[in-house]
């Protein structure tokens, strides 16, 4: 197994640190899926971003409106 790959116990420990305790029977599957996702997204490390900022998704002037609207589960898409 390449050094970068997560072992099932590592996946369990990482998940626990995020506040998601995983049952033992899920450790291997979560590790394998996380590894696959990692293999897809890690290609972005090839890019030299320079000063490129992340794409933004909010309008600062209306932050207050958004917070007032986004209080319930079904308003989470605002």
């Amino acid at each position: 197994m390449p050094a970068a790959e997560l072992t099932p116990p590592e996946a369990a420990r990482w998940a626990a640190r995020t506040g998601l305790p995983l049952p033992a029977d899920r450790h291997a599957e979560v590790a394998a899926t996380a590894d696959h996702i990692h293999s897809v997204v890690s290609v972005l490390r090839e890019l030299d971003f320079g000063d490129t900022p992340p794409a933004a998704d909010y309008r600062a002037a209306e932050e207050g409106d958004q917070q007032r609207a986004g209080t319930g589960e079904n308003n989470a898409a605002v």
């Binding site: 794409a55 209306e62 079904n74």
Partner: protein, 485 residues
């Protein structure tokens, strides 16, 4: 022709001129739902009483000589991610057991104000996190996938079980099922249609848009939906533009970009041939074809996943901890694995998105529209997990379906899919037209002109009710969310 077979535009015209009653139209569509649902399972909930009452209201307004709205009593299905007050928004998931929306989403409120009659909430791949919608069957062949995640909406419209529907599109979820079921789907510019009251899959990629039988119908629904909404952070002030295409089929001066890379790689030869024929048809209408190079293609899947995976996990954070067993297996594992993605990966995806948007906008200075296949193949068999390309490359069906549609989600550019033929098995093929931000009018004009060169589209050939009241067998029958919910 039965009322359920009419396009939105034709039905609205007949209603306005009192040749058709909205009550008659709604009854016809409800009857069609009753006959097709045992085969297709497009709906989570059918709201027959509500639809009849909307139709009666439209009828009374017309009888009283009051101006009817632009969608007078037109039967619509809403993907079950879209809130309607007093109705559950299930996301086709057991996680939402007992749910009831307190208020209308902005989209539902605008369509209701325009006169539309809700006939039901349509199935989605659970919480829109998938490309097949396993509860629902393809309208043209019930052994094949509906596509997703707005599978129920696409199948209902294709079968005549809704005159139009709304879907959501995070990586292709309007366009993929629209293409696989032979109808029109429009993913508008990011932020043009408000998402307030719509369950999110991935805030920075989510779009709401129409699924219809004609391009003209898509324009009519967009007109009722579009516009600034302060409660959606992606919404921006938009000029009140008339996007309705006219009868002019002359495309002289329109520059249509034809990709020389990516969009025709690993594409079924029958799909490629149909799309190239359709592009040639645009040229015959006066469009000028220009070769274009699609930028940064190596990073498309990485950006899509780098944004969607952690955003989806964040949305489901609480329920993943409280009721994880209620998620379907394929969605639960993605949500769990998403917890393990470092913030650095997410930021790289956001920064790469900035670069990708700039590159696409630069390409779109040279052309007005980019024409390409919507999906690389027609609908797969429901039990087929992967595709194998002639060079030996193996790709999951979901990865293949999202591959050609994701760029418009990452960049926020508008994208319209419309039917351009069938393969030898009779399954529909879709062509995608993409353009600059807010250029929906251009896409709709080109799509409508193309559409007018062919005969009127027919409904999918769905059979009658099965003798025993059940749908044909097949792997899609394994999950029946209608009984779960």
């Amino acid at each position: 022709m039965q009322p359920y077979e009419l396009s939105l535009t034709a039905a609205a015209d007949r209603i306005r001129t009192r040749q058709l009653s909205p009550v008659e139209l709604v009854d016809s569509v409800l009857d069609r739902i009753e006959r097709t649902e045992p085969h297709l399972r497009a709906y989570v909930t059918v709201t027959a009483d509500r639809a009849r009452s909307s139709a009666r209201r439209a009828e009374q307004e017309l009888s009283a000589g009051r101006a009817a709205g632009p969608l007078p009593g037109i039967p619509m299905g809403l993907k079950d991610m879209i809130d309607v007050a007093g109705v559950a928004t299930t996301g086709s998931s057991r996680v939402r057991e007992g749910h009831r929306a307190d208020a209308d989403s902005t989209a539902a409120a605008r369509l209701t104000a325009a006169g539309a009659a809700l006939v039901g909430k349509t199935h989605t791949h659970e919480f829109a996190y998938g490309l097949t919608t396993p509860q629902t069957r393809n309208a043209w062949d019930q052994e094949r996938v509906a596509g997703g995640s707005s599978g129920g909406s696409a199948v209902a419209v294709a079968a005549g079980a809704a005159t139009f529907a709304l879907g959501t599109d995070t990586g292709g979820s309007i366009r993929v099922p629209a293409a696989l079921n032979g109808i029109v789907g429009l993913k508008p510019t990011y932020g043009l249609v408000p998402r307030h009251g719509v369950t999110s899959l991935s805030w920075s990629l989510d779009h709401v848009g129409p699924l219809t039988r004609t391009v003209e119908d898509a324009a009519a629904v967009l007109a009722a939906l579009a516009g600034d909404a302060p409660r959606d952070p992606a919404s921006a002030p938009t000029p009140s533009t008339d996007r309705q295409p006219d009868a002019d089929m002359d495309l002289t001066g329109l520059r249509v970009g034809v990709p020389v890379n990516y969009y025709f790689d690993h594409v079924d030869p029958e799909v490629e041939a149909a799309v190239r024929r359709a592009v040639d048809r645009l040229a015959e209408l006066g469009a000028h074809l220009v070769d274009v190079e699609i930028p940064m293609t190596r990073y498309i899947q990485a950006v899509q996943w780098g944004l969607m995976v952690p955003e989806a996990t964040a949305y489901h954070e609480r329920t993943l901890r409280s009721v994880p067993e209620r998620y379907a297996a394929d969605v639960r594992i993605l949500l769990e694995a998403g917890e393990l993605m470092p913030a650095g990966d997410y930021l790289r995806a956001q920064r790469a998105r900035t670069l990708m948007r700039r590159s696409w906008l630069s390409t779109l200075e040279e052309v007005d529209v980019i024409a390409a296949p919507t999906v690389p193949t027609t609908a797969a068999k429901a039990d087929q997990p992967t595709l194998t390309w002639p060079d030996g490359t193996v790709e999951t069906v979901s990865d293949a379906y999202v591959r050609l549609s994701a760029p418009a989600n990452i960049t926020g550019l508008p994208a319209l899919t419309l039917p351009v033929g069938h393969d030898r098995a009779g399954m529909p093929i879709g062509m995608q037209l993409m353009g600059r931000p807010q250029s929906e009018a251009v896409l709709l004009r080109a799509g409508h002109a193309y559409e007018r060169t062919g005969p009127p589209r027919t409904l999918a050939p769905v059979g009658g009710t099965a003798p025993d009241g059940t749908a044909p067998g097949g792997p899609a029958a394994a999950v029946d969310a209608m009984t779960l919910l």
